[in-house]
C-alpha cells in the first residue's frame, strides 16, 4: 500500500454530485449524515469542493448537459479518488436508458469503482457500500 492510499482510508471526505437525478438518492445521501444514520462517526464528512474530496458520490442519469461538468468535476479531484455510482440511474440508466437526454450511464464517462443499486438505495445500503470502499482500500 502506498502512502497516498494509506492517507486516503483514514477519514473519507465525500463530494456529492447529481447528474440529472430525481433528487431521491441525493436526499438519502443527506439522510446518511443526519442523526439517525450519522455517517460522521466514521469520519465521513460532506465537503464543498471536489478538490477536497476522496470519494465522489454520483447520482442520476448524467444527462447530456451534465456530461462535460461531471468530467470537469472528476478532473478536479485529487487522485486516487473513489467514484461511487448511487442508484439505478447512475448504475445502468434505469428506466431512463432510452431517453434522448441520456448521456450516461456514469461508467461511460468516468471510471466507477463501486455500484450501489436501488431506487433509491436505503441509507443502510449506502453505508454498507462505503464500508466496502474502506475494505477495498486496504
Amino acid at each position: 500500500m502506498n502512502l497516498k492510499t494509506k492517507a486516503l482510508k483514514k477519514s473519507l471526505w465525500v463530494y456529492h454530485m447529481s447528474g440529472g437525478s430525481c433528487n431521491n438518492c441525493d436526499i438519502e445521501i443527506l439522510d446518511c449524515l443526519t442523526p439517525k444514520f450519522d455517517l460522521e462517526r466514521f469520519g465521513i464528512v460532506l465537503v464543498g469542493s471536489p478538490r477536497h474530496a476522496d470519494v465522489l458520490l454520483c447520482t442520476g442519469i448524467v444527462n447530456k448537459k451534465c456530461v462535460e461538468r461531471v468530467k470537469e468535476v472528476y478532473e478536479q479531484t485529487a487522485k486516487p479518488c473513489v467514484v461511487v455510482a448511487i442508484g439505478a440511474c447512475a448504475c445502468s440508466g434505469g428506466m431512463f436508458r432510452d431517453s434522448y437526454e441520456m448521456g450516461g450511464p456514469l461508467n461511460k464517462i468516468i471510471p466507477v469503482d463501486i455500484y450501489i443499486p436501488g431506487c433509491p438505495p436505503k441509507p443502510e445500503a449506502m453505508i454498507a457500500g462505503i464500508v466496502k470502499v474502506l475494505e477495498k482500500l486496504k
Binding site: S18, N23, D31, P120
Partner: protein, 398 residues
C-alpha cells in the same frame, strides 16, 4: 441585463454542496445589493414527457413517480386523476382515503425537509438536524405502508396498489401521535426563536400582485395571502370528505412561508387521522380494473407540497399517451426571484432562493443547450458563509 463596470457577477452552481440539484444562478450585484438575477436550467432534464409516449399507461405511473424524489406521490396522483378524468370514472371509497393519507404524509416529510434545509442555509444546523431527525418516523411510516422509504409505488389507474391493512392502523396511529408531538415542539422552537424571526421577517417579500403576475401556487401564494388550494377548489380523493382548513398568511416574507408550511404539517396530521378513522375496521375494494383507455383528452391536478401539479394527456385509444404535458409547481414559483431578490443584500439570497422550496427536477421539461459557454462555477459555499455570518451578527445584537 448588460454587464456594466459597476456590477459584479456572482455565479451559483451548477454544482454546489448544499442544494441537491445542479442549477445555475447568476447574481448581478452592485456592492452588496442585487441588481438582477439570471437562471439557467436544464441540468436535470430527462425527457420524461417524450419517454411517457413510448410507455404503457400503467408504466407511466412509475415513470412520473421518478420525476421527483421529494414529492414522489404528487405526479402519480395528478396522473391518475388525469386518466380517471379522461375515462370519466370514480374510484372506490377506501382507495380515496388511502390516496389522501399518502399525499398528506408526503406533505409532512417534504415540509420538514424544507425547514431543515432553511435552517441549514441560515447557519442553524440544530434546526437542520432536528427537522431531519423528526422526518425519519414519517419515512418509517411509509416503509410500513408501502415497503419503501421513498418512491412508494402506491398508485395505479383506478385506485391504489396496496391496502393499508386494518391490523397496521393502531401502529400507524401511535406513530402519528408521536410525530404530532415532535412537530408541535419543533414548530414552537422555530417560531419562538428571536434570531430566526429577525433573520426571516421582511426578507424576500412577495406581494399579492407579484403572486398574480407570476402565477405562483402553493405555500408561496398562500403566504402572501392568496387563498388557492386545489384540494379545496377542485376536490378530489378524500379531501371533500374530511374536515380541514387552508392555511394562509399575510406578509409574504420567508417567515410567513415557514409559518404556512409548518402549520400545514399539523393540518396534514388532522387529515390523516380522519382518513384512518374512516377506513379502520372496514373492508372494501382498493381499486377498479381499467382494461382500456378510450380516445380523448384529460386533465388532472393535485396540490403537491409545493403547489398545484398539473397533468394533461391526450389519448388515441391505443396503449400509450399521444401527448403528455406536465407542469410542476416550481415552474411558476422559481421565477418569483425576479421580484423577491432584487434590492436585497447578497447574504439574504440563499434563504430567499430556498424560500420558495424550489424543485428543479420537477420543473425541467424543456432543455436548451449552450455548448459554447464554460465558466468556473463553484461559489455557493461563500454565499452560505455570508448568510451564516449575518445570522451570527443578529444573534449577537439580540
Amino acid at each position: 441585463m448588460k454587464n456594466n463596470k459597476k456590477t459584479v457577477i456572482v455565479p451559483i452552481g451548477p454544482y454546489h454542496p448544499l442544494l441537491e440539484e445542479p442549477e445555475f444562478f447568476a447574481l448581478y450585484c452592485d456592492g452588496e445589493k442585487i441588481v438582477d438575477v439570471e437562471w439557467q436550467a436544464g441540468y436535470n432534464h430527462r425527457g420524461i414527457e417524450k419517454l411517457s409516449e413510448s410507455k404503457h399507461w400503467d408504466q407511466v405511473t412509475f415513470l412520473v413517480e421518478r420525476i421527483c424524489g421529494i414529492c414522489s406521490t404528487s405526479h402519480p396522483f395528478a396522473y391518475c386523476n388525469t386518466i380517471e378524468n379522461l375515462i370519466g370514472m370514480t374510484i372506490p371509497e377506501r382507495a380515496k382515503y388511502i390516496r389522501s393519507i399518502i399525499g398528506e404524509l408526503e406533505r409532512i416529510h417534504s415540509h420538514l425537509l424544507w425547514m431543515g434545509l432553511a435552517g441549514h442555509f441560515l447557519g442553524y444546523n440544530t434546526v437542520f438536524m432536528w427537522a431531519w431527525k423528526y422526518r425519519e418516523p414519517v419515512l418509517d411510516l411509509f416503509e410500513i405502508i408501502s415497503g419503501n422509504r421513498n418512491h412508494y409505488a402506491m398508485f395505479k389507474i383506478g385506485g391504489v396498489r396496496r391496502n393499508i391493512e386494518n391490523e397496521d392502523i393502531p401502529k400507524i396511529r401511535k406513530m402519528l401521535a408521536e410525530i404530532k408531538g415532535q412537530l408541535e415542539m419543533l414548530i414552537g422552537a422555530v417560531l419562538d426563536d428571536p434570531v430566526l424571526t429577525a433573520r426571516l421577517k421582511n426578507v424576500g417579500v412577495l406581494t399579492k400582485q407579484d403572486i398574480k403576475n407570476f402565477g405562483s401556487v402553493g405555500p408561496v401564494a398562500r403566504a402572501s395571502g392568496v387563498d388557492v388550494d386545489v384540494r379545496r377548489d377542485e376536490p378530489y380523493a378524500a379531501y371533500p370528505l374530511v374536515e380541514w382548513s387552508v392555511i394562509t398568511a399575510k406578509n409574504g416574507d420567508v417567515l410567513d412561508k415557514a409559518v404556512v408550511r409548518l402549520s400545514e404539517c399539523l393540518e396534514a396530521v388532522k387529515i390523516i387521522t380522519q382518513c384512518l378513522d374512516a377506513i379502520e375496521g372496514k373492508a372494501g375494494e382498493i381499486g377498479e380494473e381499467v382494461r382500456r383507455v378510450p380516445e380523448g383528452e384529460g386533465i388532472g391536478r393535485h396540490e403537491a407540497p409545493r403547489g398545484e401539479c398539473f397533468h394533461y394527456i391526450r389519448s388515441d385509444g391505443a396503449n400509450s399517451p399521444v401527448r403528455h404535458k406536465i407542469r410542476a409547481p416550481s415552474y411558476t414559483n422559481v421565477p418569483t426571484f425576479k421580484a423577491s431578490c432584487i434590492g436585497q443584500t447578497i447574504s439574504d439570497v440563499a434563504i430567499i432562493l430556498a424560500g420558495v422550496d424550489p424543485c428543479y427536477c420537477c420543473t425541467e421539461r424543456v432543455a436548451v443547450y449552450d455548448a459554447g459557454k464554460k465558466k468556473k462555477l463553484y461559489d455557493f459555499q461563500h454565499l452560505v458563509e455570508l448568510s451564516k455570518q449575518k445570522t451570527e451578527r443578529i444573534r449577537k445584537e439580540i
